[in-house]
Symmetry: C2
């Protein structure tokens, strides 16, 4: 999944490795489209792969890293983001169960390096397929090719939408949309800094806008928590 001459970072070192092979049934529960893959190919893929548990916060990729495997997410979320020169961040998209880290596929098939940063947004379980196996399976199997194409296309469209949002969108509208999307039971536990990192803006702007929302009666604020009020 990640190669480099440097010693593994602290986070990489604490990854827990499962040695038991994932069953076809367990895998296709998260990836239903793979039911169409011939059993011998599925068996080969699973027997040459390994599962990995990644704790929340663990850095998975840095920009410029090479790829030796592609990760299929079984559970949890991986956040893919860019970092600017001033240290500000913006989330490009998140990878959930049933998706792959499609930039892995780009790296493997187009022989490039990882063009963003990736971090575990929660505890994550992945199936790691070695790049040589993956490359050959993509060549041989149309279902897998279609899956990868579809995900790459979807990501391209999504990132193009993000360009439009960032270039033309008002931050207050993006923020409200974010709160609505990310909340569960009209509430979310997060920090202003994390919201700013997702939206690609500055922490002070998020604090100011949230304060405005509170004054307007749209939200209730407390430390590490935001509650959406009925409107």
């Amino acid at each position: 999944m990640k190669e480099g001459a440097s010693a593994p970072s602290f986070f990489v070192r604490i990854m827990i490795e499962f040695t038991a092979m994932l069953t076809s049934k367990e895998f296709t529960r998260a990836f239903p489209a793979f039911q169409k893959i011939p059993v011998p190919l599925m068996q080969e893929m699973l027997s040459s792969s390994r599962t990995q548990a990644i704790p929340s916060g663990a850095r998975i990729y840095a920009e410029g890293d090479g790829c030796t495997a592609i990760a299929f997410v079984l559970s949890g979320e991986i956040r893919v983001y860019k970092v600017g020169e001033t240290g500000r961040e913006i989330t490009l998209y998140e990878i959930g169960p049933g998706e792959t880290c499609i930039l892995n596929a780009s790296c493997i098939l187009a022989h490039t390096t990882y063009p963003a940063h990736a971090v575990a947004a929660s505890n994550v379980d992945v199936l790691l397929v070695p790049s040589t196996v993956f490359r050959r399976l993509v060549t041989e199997n149309e279902v897998l090719r279609d899956f990868v194409f579809a995900l790459l296309s979807q990501r391209l469209s999504l990132v193009m939408e993000l360009v439009e949002e960032v270039a033309f969108g008002r931050v207050d509208e993006r923020l409200m949309g974010y709160l609505i999307e990310k909340s569960e039971n009209n509430s979310l536990d997060t920090t202003h800094q994390k919201i700013a990192n997702d939206l690609g803006t500055s922490r002070e702007v998020v604090s100011r806008l949230l304060k405005d929302f509170e004054r307007k009666g749209q939200v209730r604020l407390s430390r590490n928590s935001i509650t959406l009020l009925k409107r």
Copy 2:
């Protein structure tokens, strides 16, 4: 290339259609990687395709359009861009000779609609390959698959870079970089509005920044023309 229930736009109607079949040699001059494609497949592709000349300024795609063909650019430039609610534009990337309109490939292979706008930035010559033929050739031929994958990956990386530029970059630095990149013999003929459309900013901001550059002795301005001075 473009389908829709509405009558063809003015620009589409004036497209000139070439009926002579493109030779393999002519095609591989623009697309060298295709020399590896077996001759029967190349012949089939060329015999079922047609070339098209598109005049500068012609609208090629609007967001939401379906695709019936994929365009391979033989000469000229196609500009792919997004438009915000307020009418402002931002160029995502440009497609030159030796490239395809890769969003066509996304549409064809992943059964989606065109996720941006495309316009001829100059007089353009394209080879139009019908989507059914393209889909089958991608399935059968690894060279074509690799080509499409590589271009899709490249575009994804490029658009992710653009997110970073737009989110974190200073407009004056992006503008100077743009002028340097787009000028020939330290000069470019364009308008402030066109620059603003490429960079996703407003015309007044470009005018103000160019005036600042002029005051600093970095450029010389005249109507429809900007000259870079030595620094």
